[in-house]
């Protein structure tokens, strides 16, 4: 391994880190656009704090819970101690990952993933969750739940030994966030006025340009999310992943376009935006295993699922203002299972392993989240009062207006 190659690999991984970080810009825009004006500051606040909390908890415990080391291979749990520190000399640099990246690069790249998982929940619980309760939940969730589960596969734990495969986190990042989001919206309940007399009321987002920008920023970041999951600058690997990722995103848009038109007879922007994301989430488990046509089909199906899923969750009164459960949970599960159905790892055994992984992660994360949220609910409360919800969280929780002097609606 030459110095130049090591530098190139590490450089790409650092760029990928920055690209994943940009996804927070994407989430900020997307979530802000999909909520009402009176709750924008609150959403922005949550998104800002989550990035901070994610990175800090990952520094203190998360990284070493998720990657406890060889000693815990095949196990359910492992911990390499509090805080992070690089091995001395070459062991933390060129020898750390066979010349692919340094210890520090490894840490910060993975830290960005942790933060994106945590932020998935914030959209689903928007407009009615108590700020402190959410921050408490998010802190414990990203500090413990995310790395505990991540260790099972990426940290060399039991799912890895089993043969479960998740290239960049359809399950380990997206479905994990999605299960937590589902638990949260069940415990939280729907927004006031969403379901009245058996009818589903539309509560439109206040800024579609922002939402659209958000989705494109997320797609932009996904080049790093998937491209960096190659864990080196390998030209073949990264370039293939760039292709499958983008094809899936495109197919997701088309899938959502067609199905939402058939269902609603309108061209709903929010649906095609979610469709792009669904396609991206769907390819994330196997972006390095799929050919272009596989990626197209996986993405298309993910996009097609989105409108059906959004309506389904509305029908069961699981109110999700941004479609996080549809994009991240449902498409995350789909993407994970697709590894057993398409591409170079497809097969009955693999499909079974994927199913086991989906189920195990789902059960753990859902129960963890549900339990924690229930505890928070009965101790400090989880929902703002009806008056606060009516007035808007910007005023109620922050005493701030989102657009001072400028009324959007």
């Amino acid at each position: 391994m030459t110095e130049a190659l090591f530098t190139t690999n590490n450089l790409w991984m650092m760029i990928a880190t920055v690209l994943v970080f940009i996804m927070h810009l994407g989430f900020v825009c997307l979530e802000a656009g999909f909520v009402r004006q009176k709750n924008v500051v609150n959403i922005l606040f949550k998104n800002t704090m989550i990035v901070a909390i994610g990175i800090l908890t990952y520094t203190l415990v998360g990284f070493n819970l998720m990657y406890p080391g060889e000693a815990f291979a095949g196990k359910l749990f492992g911990f390499a101690g509090f805080g992070i520190s690089s091995p001395e000399g070459a062991a933390g640099l060129a020898n750390y990952a066979d010349g692919a990246y340094t210890y520090w690069t490894d840490f910060i790249f993975q830290a960005m993933f942790a933060a994106t998982c945590a932020t998935i929940v914030s959209g689903a619980v928007a407009e009615r969750i108590k700020l402190e309760s959410f921050l408490l939940f998010a802190t414990i969730f990203v500090a413990l739940c995310y790395p505990l589960v991540g260790m099972w596969k990426w940290g060399g734990g039991w799912l890895d030994s089993l043969g479960f495969y998740d290239f960049a986190g359809s399950t380990l990042v997206h479905a994990v966030g999605g299960w937590a989001a589902l638990a949260a919206i069940i415990i939280l309940g729907p927004r006031k006025g969403k379901y009245i007399d058996g009818k589903i009321k539309a509560i439109p987002g206040h800024n579609m340009p922002l939402a659209a920008m958000g989705v494109f920023l997320l797609w932009f970041g996904w080049f790093g999310f998937n491209g960096g999951s190659v864990l080196s600058a390998d030209p073949g690997g990264v370039s293939l992943v760039f292709v499958t990722t983008s094809i899936a995103a495109a197919a997701g848009a088309v899938g959502a376009f067609i199905v939402s038109y058939v269902m609603f007879k309108t061209h709903d922007l929010s649906m095609v935006l979610n469709g792009v994301l669904g396609g991206l989430v769907g390819i994330t488990a196997g972006a390095d295993l799929m050919g272009p046509m596989d990626a197209l089909i996986i993405g298309f199906i993910a996009g097609a699922i989105i409108p059906l899923s959004v309506v389904f969750f509305d029908r069961i009164k699981a109110d999700d203002p941004v479609g996080a459960t549809s994009v991240h949970l449902v498409c995350g599960v789909w993407g994970t299972l697709a590894v057993g159905l398409f591409g170079s790892m497809k097969g009955g055994t693999q499909f079974l392993n994927q199913l086991i992984g989906v189920a195990a992660v789902g059960a753990f994360v859902f129960l963890f989240s549900f339990g924690l949220l229930y505890l928070i609910k009965v101790t400090m409360g989880i929902r703002v009062t009806a008056e606060e919800e009516e007035m808007g969280l910007d005023l109620a929780e922050h005493g701030m207006k989102s657009y001072t002097e400028f009324v959007v609606n």
Partner: protein
Amino acid sequence: MNMKKIEAIIRSSKFDAVKQALSEIGTDFFTFTEVKGFGQQKQDKVVYRGNVYDAGYIARMKLEIYTTDEKSAEVVQTICRSGRTGEVGDGKVIVTSIERITRIRTVEEGAAAL
């Protein structure tokens, strides 16, 4: 001599036409706001994520024009002529008498204040 206040609630799409027409009869100044209302016109049906809902209001422009008694009839006619489409929802013009009108800069009163 009585001064008049003319309020006109017109279609947003007719704003430019009405403004132009008023300018042609020498009324080059008024205040306007964007308003919401509902009335005989059917409101737009809007769809969001598969759910149809009422936009809840119809958007309109409201003009407030101050003019002399003699001119008010002409202003009303001009607004009606230029603001009309023939469809339900064209709007209304209301004329009220005002007690007093003063220019802030010079303290002129009445017609001189216009």
